[in-house]
Symmetry: C2
Subunit: 526 residues, 2 copies
């Protein structure tokens, strides 16, 4: 039986043209992720011994605003197939890794949002995720080094897989073959990158020039090879030459390597100080990584990408060529992957009515967006903010984010909807002294036993059946029934039914911040 | 003391750049309405004997979507100075007309919205407005003829002023002088139009070629003159020639004439059948104008503009030249009149953050709109719908409205906020089986005593003090307190305080239409 939450996703997707993806032409590359849809079922496969995955999830993704926010960066975006990019990344590697061998490396600002987000993902039911916070943001060399030291300390034979959390990638047998090939080469001591076969002269990615094949690591064509060299994002002409010549792959940013090999190559490439620092921090319990001592030690490290600090200097770097559909979702133009274009080249997603536009991308989550006679334009509408820009300025969305930050705009920080382990909430309106939300609670789940110092809450059940605890007293409420929680009263909300529970909450008080909460009991130990 | 509602308007305006209009350059014509601000005070003046005003308010204004809706057409829009166009039109003529001599001619679809709208306008406190419904829409010749017949039947010496409800016009002494001059000429038997002195070679208006002055109707230059001829909207070259030559005025669509002269000229211009029909209908009580008999009689009339049916054929047509700032608000480009342009020629109104755009109009009522690198674009954002189009397609917004109608989109029909005589409501969210609104009640006002068959209502007071009647019982609720009204229960909500009352209402039920209401008592006899 599908998870009820999965059914709700499916219902939501029906409102969007992605639901009509079967009509998409499979030959046109821009639709290549159109068919990505997660079912919540884990493929049956054999786990790879010693495989430990670390998903990097510290990025801010300002180029994806307004779909991403500081507290809900790009990896939270679920417009590609209805499942967030990070839930896809975790779900893609979990069946291949050791049981319990999946960690997310993030930071202390995001970790609680991430826990809530992943705990509420039905496609990850049964997957245990460990949360690690890097002491401070120092780019990928220190982050990957720390991940390697941590994993190596737990399992001296560990094979580390480092994955970005905010890319789109084709799943399935081809993916599994690539990881198995990479893990085999890793066990021979190589640092193994994954290189995607280029399908167009893309100037937005770095390239890898392949060298000779490594013996015995796979079938001809898909065997791991030495890396001849890494090349920066090329200009158009160079990219076209790479494509014509062959022997070049897109650098995906994924890495598979023995954890001890990573530490060894740190030493070999003149990063001995880094290796020593991360060994020291990894010896601490993860809860102490964001303590003062670890933070100071980590903050003193040189902020550098792992590619330039290690991979471009090491003699032991290999690449597994992968014929997989992939996108780094580097800008809002990636929305072209969400739905097939119409006959005038527009990608229109959601509640959009267009007249006469050409080559434009119009995305609406919910509200009506009407467009007339646009050319090469990007219109992105969310519950609380709209962005309009020419497609060729997509990379400059960060300028808008900077302008918003300068104004202190909350729309750059907070999403309108937040996922929690028990479900989600959505702000409908924030007024002076009051705030109205809808709150959805998953079947069988409940919020923490809590109280608020400064706000009272009025709850109206509009769908499903609620079990409410008010100062020790329990009551069951059905659609159309309501209750009142005064400030300071201990209370708890649970979904008492088999279906969804939706309530409307009107909070009234002088201070309405999410941090006005005292938790007495919590199913997620928050 | 200013009306509390007026102060609330003022507060709302502060959120918009229109509040900073004092900085606008008075020399640039496009800002010419920037300083229009209504204070709610009626100028002290002498009423003109027998003057009866009829404001035409039947139009749909589809070219102003999404700011206008079928149930809130262009005349309801209050972005120009914070007071709706129709409230401005009524307020502008009321002090000059006979007491009780102001009527609005509309249709049965709009009349109840109009009553609610005008009754809630603080600038019209003390003004009595009569509501007339034309039997069916037949353009302005039948409408003006009916108005003339109705007014003539009440006062054989009546001077009729016909005014559009959805134009922008400068108020003050110059306006009063124009109306007095026109009324004097009307009393000599002329059908008097009002012609605005052109300030640019506008191709969107019709022009009037002036003839010789009428004696004794005003000072030199502002005296009424014969109309030499009416000319259709000219092309650019012709418009430039008119401006250079002089002797041409913009046709404002306003008319001042003795009601009996209108009927006489109907006969003189071959519209005797029309005159007979409207005399017959006007003899009925206005409540019967939308009855079957009157409707059939009226629907059989030729739909034609008054200009072509009468004015262009009559020998007795005059024009009063007016040096008044005026706009017919013919398209969304009129938003350029709301605020001064920035240094790159953009007019940005409301919660807008722009980077690098030029010559664009961006209007946001409330939500954040971010724009980047736009050129000559129009972005209009409202609570439930956003429109994006190039400025040069502003006239084609009706194509979007047609597309929306074809889809049955409610955003083309209903506004998110509706004014009522007691205040206003705003829909926050419509879900399956529930709807959340904020409701504002003006000080000292109350809703009708009512009940609903299909929905229960939960009220949370978030500002002010409410007096609630529940099945005969009365209770007072303050901010943070709530109550529950089950389906079928008689109830009433009143503002018991001196300040604003704001409540959040969660309605739950299988049917949530506004028409599920039984009224037992109502201060506005609805």
């Amino acid at each position: 039986m599908p998870h009820p939450r999965t059914e709700r996703y499916a219902k939501r997707l029906q409102r969007h043209p992605v639901a009509s993806l079967k009509r998409a032409s499979p030959n046109r590359e821009r639709h290549r992720f159109a068919a990505l849809r997660y079912t919540g079922r884990m493929p049956e496969t054999q786990r790879i011994p010693h495989l430990n995955a670390v998903v990097l999830a510290g990025g801010s993704g300002t180029r994806f605003w307004p779909l991403s926010r500081e507290l809900a960066p790009k990896q939270f975006v679920s417009i590609f197939g209805g499942v967030s990019l990070i839930a896809q990344a975790v779900g893609r590697i979990a069946p291949l890794a050791e049981a319990g061998g999946v960690a997310v490396l993030t930071n202390d600002r995001l970790v609680s949002e991430l826990k809530g987000h992943l705990a509420s993902q039905p496609t990850l039911d049964g997957v245990t995720v460990e949360y690690l916070c890097e002491p401070s943001p120092r780019n990928t060399a220190p982050a990957i080094a720390l991940a390697a030291a941590y994993v190596a300390a737990r399992d001296s034979e560990a094979v580390l897989v480092v994955l970005p959390s905010d890319h789109l990638l084709e799943d399935g047998p081809a993916w599994e073959r690539v990881i198995r090939t990479a893990a085999a080469a890793a066990n021979d001591g190589w640092l193994v990158t994954i290189g995607l076969e280029p399908t167009r002269p893309e100037t937005g990615y770095g390239y890898i020039r392949v060298g000779e094949p490594l013996d015995g690591t796979g079938e001809a064509g898909s065997a791991a090879r030495r890396v001849a060299r890494f090349v920066e994002k090329p200009d158009r002409g160079t990219a076209e030459r790479y494509l014509a010549e062959g022997g070049y792959l897109w650098n995906s940013g994924m890495l598979v390597a023995r954890a001890d090999a990573v530490l060894r190559e740190l030493e070999a490439t003149g990063n001995g100080d880094l290796a020593a620092a991360v060994r020291e921090i990894a010896a601490l319990p993860p809860a102490e990584w964001t303590g003062e001592r670890a933070r100071a030690r980590f903050a003193a490290l040189r902020a550098e990408p792992f590619d330039t600090a290690v991979l471009e200097r090491s003699e032991r770097v290999a690449v597994v060529p992968a014929r997989l559909r992939w996108s780094d979702v580097g800008s809002l133009l990636a929305l072209e992957l969400v739905a097939p274009p119409d006959e005038r080249g527009n990608v229109l997603v959601g509640n959009v009515v267009d007249v006469d536009s050409t080559s434009s991308i119009v995305y609406s989550f919910d509200r009506l967006v009407a467009t007339l006679g646009l050319h090469d334009l990007l219109v992105i509408d969310t519950a609380d903010a709209t962005l309009v820009a020419p497609k060729d300025r997509a990379q400059d969305v960060r300028l808008v984010v900077d302008a918003l930050k300068a104004r202190g705009a909350r729309e750059v920080v907070e999403p309108r909807t937040a996922n929690r382990p028990w479900g989600s909430w959505t702000v409908l309106v924030k007024g002076t002294g009051f705030q109205v939300k809808t709150i959805e609670v998953l079947p069988g789940r409940r919020l923490s036993l809590q109280s608020h110092e400064h706000r009272s809450e009025h709850w109206v059940v509009v769908e499903g059946e609620a079990l409410v605890e008010r100062d020790g007293e329990r009551l069951t409420l059905r659609a159309g029934e309501s209750t009142f929680i005064p400030a300071k009263m201990r209370h708890r909300l649970a979904n008492a039914g088999d279906g969804p529970l939706v309530i409307v909450e009107v909070a009234v008080g002088g201070y309405l911040g999410e941090d006005d909460i005292v938790r007495y009991e919590d199913d997620w130990a928050r």
